[in-house]
Amino acid sequence: MAALHFHFDIDGEDFSSAGDASVVMKKKLRQLGFPSDAIRRCSIAMYEGEINMVIHANGGTADVDVYPDKIVIVLEDHGPGIPNVELAMQEGYSTSTEQIRNMGFGAGMGLPNMKRYTESLEIETKVGVGTKLTMVVGV
């Protein structure tokens, strides 16, 4: 069965709208009748990715392919890249500013949450070029 495709542009300027794409995607998945557990995992993973792109990369794009048995989320930005992926994957490690932390972000849980709530997380990143994350959420 062919995938349903959804594309979102993530605005890097506007913190107040961060998470909007994840909210829209959640609604779509609910309309499509996906189990609530899969919707929850997809929402968490995509939200963390969206927030990361706003915090670190001045926005980017999210492309979601929905299959009957899986949801594939591809997040791509042209931000600074991740110099040390292993370090970034550690819970509690964050390069966020004090201002970001004051907003409730920057707990160093973004990438670990993405890994925890998905079947697979693939990170392609190059310093100074950008980052591409591919996540698969099983249904």
């Binding site: 107040s16 998470g19 994840s22 909210v23 968490i44 939200y47 963390e48 707990a107 949450n113 709530y117």
Partner: protein
């Protein structure tokens, strides 16, 4: 217990009563949004001192029944309007997160 009943019992001040008849099934306390995202459950009363617009997105995604802003925190400008738009129950209280948690736990 519904959101409306809980709000009455705790003397919460409504900021946005979008869905007062919603059932409350549990509670969660936290201010780190990633932590809340990964752990709060659908139907929870989420108690926090975080007052920016992002709490509305987190409440939407985690499907919590209501947000309670503790410690007399006021929502930032635009938060009430956004909660209204997204259909999120948002209340505030002068009491501490600890006191509110104890009261929610005793009521459920």
């Amino acid at each position: 217990m519904t959101v409306e009943m809980l709000a009455k019992q705790l003397s919460l001040e409504p900021v946005c009563e979008a869905e007062p008849e919603r059932e409350v099934t549990g509670g969660y306390v936290g201010d780190l949004l990633s932590w809340v995202m990964g752990r709060a459950q659908s139907g929870d009363a989420w108690i926090t001192i975080m007052s920016n617009t992002n709490v509305v997105a987190v409440a939407t995604l985690t499907d919590t029944a209501l947000i309670i802003l503790a410690e007399d925190v006021h929502p930032d400008p635009g938060v009430a309007e956004l909660a209204e738009k997204k259909g999120i129950n948002l209340y505030r209280s002068p009491e501490s997160a600890f006191t509110l948690s104890a009261k929610v736990a005793a009521l459920l």
